[in-house]
């Protein structure tokens, strides 16, 4: 396409009135022609005038909340995508290697050693195989647990009527972000957190619902290497009865009360 032809089609291109073939032709030409790209930019300003020339209104607040809910669900899906295959590959590879090694060892020893050693070795291998079978069973159960967990997260975060509240970072963890989702059915809330620091082995994050200055423990959670973590809160009272939600750092196993530094908090 020549510049003269492309220039004539720039505004129709922005208006969306070109057929797909014409539109692709303009798009390809702009990729290689700085002059036409600049003219496209000028035409874009004109199109913006059309957009801004209608009576101005404000959308309802719910539109923003729904948008943020979709964005949060998008972030969760990105973080967990591939988690199951990675987890299973890691466990499966290790188990497969050990199983292969044990079988090879059994055959080598049976050929080299005498009948007495062979009988003794058989007894030892039988015990090793039992341990390997137990590990494989545990891995399969872990995979199932991870799948169920991810299903619950995606289910709540993507509900159309879910109520969403933002959590704000504190000075001790300024890059962290969090959201709390309340299912329309009311019984469960999901808290998700991003960019939380990975804690030492003897520490956990603990979630508190605060009412009248008093913290009510809802449990603990940890984060993965990317700083992502989530926590289900099974509610026995409406979330709206509480004033705030706070996440603090506590000793492993949790604390009777919020004693550690807070990392995320939000009003309810």
């Amino acid at each position: 396409m020549k510049c003269e032809q492309a220039e004539e089609q720039l505004s129709p291109f922005l208006l969306g009135v070109l057929d797909p073939e014409e539109s692709s032709g303009v798009d390809r030409h702009i990729e290689t022609c700085p002059g036409c790209a600049s003219r496209l930019a000028q035409s874009g300003d004109l199109m913006s005038e059309f957009a801004l020339s209608v009576p101005q209104l404000e959308p309802p607040a719910a539109v923003k909340l729904q948008l943020l809910s979709r964005v949060e669900g998008d972030l969760v899906r990105d973080l967990t995508a591939g988690a199951i295959p990675r987890l299973f590959r890691r466990l499966g590879r290790g188990v497969a290697l050990r199983a292969g090694f044990a079988i090879a060892s059994t055959l080598v020893l049976a050929l080299v050693l005498g009948a007495v050693w062979f009988n003794g070795r058989l007894s030892e291998v039988a015990q090793e195989n039992q341990a390997l079978a137990l590990q494989m069973e545990t891995a399969a159960q872990s995979e199932q647990n991870v799948k169920e967990m991810l299903r619950r997260v995606a289910s709540i975060a993507s509900e159309p009527d879910v109520t969403v509240k933002r959590l704000s970072a504190t000075q001790s963890s300024p890059k962290s972000r969090g959201m709390i989702y309340l299912s329309a059915r009311g019984g469960t809330a999901l808290l998700t957190a991003l960019d939380l620091p990975v804690l030492a082995a003897n520490e956990v994050y603990q979630v508190w619902l605060v009412k009248d200055g008093q913290g009510f423990d809802t449990g603990v959670f940890t984060v993965d290497s990317s700083g992502y973590g989530h926590h289900f809160i099974d509610l026995t009272a409406p979330l709206a009865e509480f004033d705030a939600v706070v996440i603090t750092v506590e000793q492993a196993g949790g604390s009777p009360g919020p004693t550690g530094r807070s990392v995320l908090k939000g009003d309810l």
Partner: protein
């Protein structure tokens, strides 16, 4: 990763220190950043940047959608979809192709057109009424061109449109606010396709010439 045995019940933990606000960390306020800076942060999955862009331009997007669709519910959905597409496609924005607002409004406009065309397919209605020219009495309730011109609140564009020949003006308005393609406009006006393309080309060329200084002034005032 979550939960511990027995956490299902909420257990009051006795005498506890009061909940104390230990202060908020503050990064640069997204509201003070330019559109381009916000888009760069959105491409890095900074949600606060998306919120700032939304707060700045959601009204304009919603207004355009409401104006074209005449359906607040559909306009809300278009607004949400538009900014979600911004979230997903932020990394594809190219500054050399135009300002962020032009890119944003283009996404919104295309989304609205998709909705307009989806409704047409669903309703299977055939527009048979001729478009009334601006300077003649007409029923503006169903004519996007006339409705648009009567509702316009920015004098520069409205004045510029009145500098066009009526037949040029109507094809531009039918295209932008009506979401019609060249072929659909030709069919509606019972004119050859080539005639419609020529009228649109001349109309937009003239508008760029008239609006050049005004559009540049607006662009200079853009955040």
């Amino acid at each position: 990763m979550s939960g511990r045995p027995g956490h299902e019940k909420l257990n009051p933990s006795g005498e506890l220190p009061a909940y104390v606000d230990i202060g908020e960390p503050r990064r640069a306020d997204p509201a003070s950043l330019s559109d381009q800076e916000l888009l760069r942060l959105i491409a890095l999955e900074e949600r606060e940047a998306l919120e700032a862009l939304y707060d700045r331009w959601s009204g304009a997007v919603y207004s355009l959608a409401t104006h074209m669709l005449r359906d607040p519910g559909a306009a809300e959905e278009v607004t949400q979809d538009t900014f979600f597409r911004v979230w997903r496609r932020a990394s594809s924005y190219r500054p050399e192709r135009g300002k962020v607002t032009a890119w944003l409004f283009s996404i919104a406009h295309h989304r609205v057109i998709d909705e307009v065309r989806r409704r047409k397919r669903r309703e299977q209605t055939q527009v048979s009424q001729d478009v009334e020219l601006i300077d003649q009495p007409a029923d503006d309730s169903t004519d996007p061109a006339r409705y648009a011109i009567l509702q316009m609140n920015r004098g520069e564009l409205k004045d510029a449109l009145f500098h066009l020949r009526p037949e040029q003006r109507e094809v531009v308005l039918l295209a932008y606010y009506g979401g019609l393609t060249h072929s659909e406009i030709a069919q509606r006006l019972d004119k050859p396709l080539g005639t419609v393309k020529t009228r649109m080309r001349l109309a937009l060329k003239k508008l760029r010439g008239i609006m050049g200084p005004q559009a540049q002034e607006w662009a200079d005032n853009e955040v």
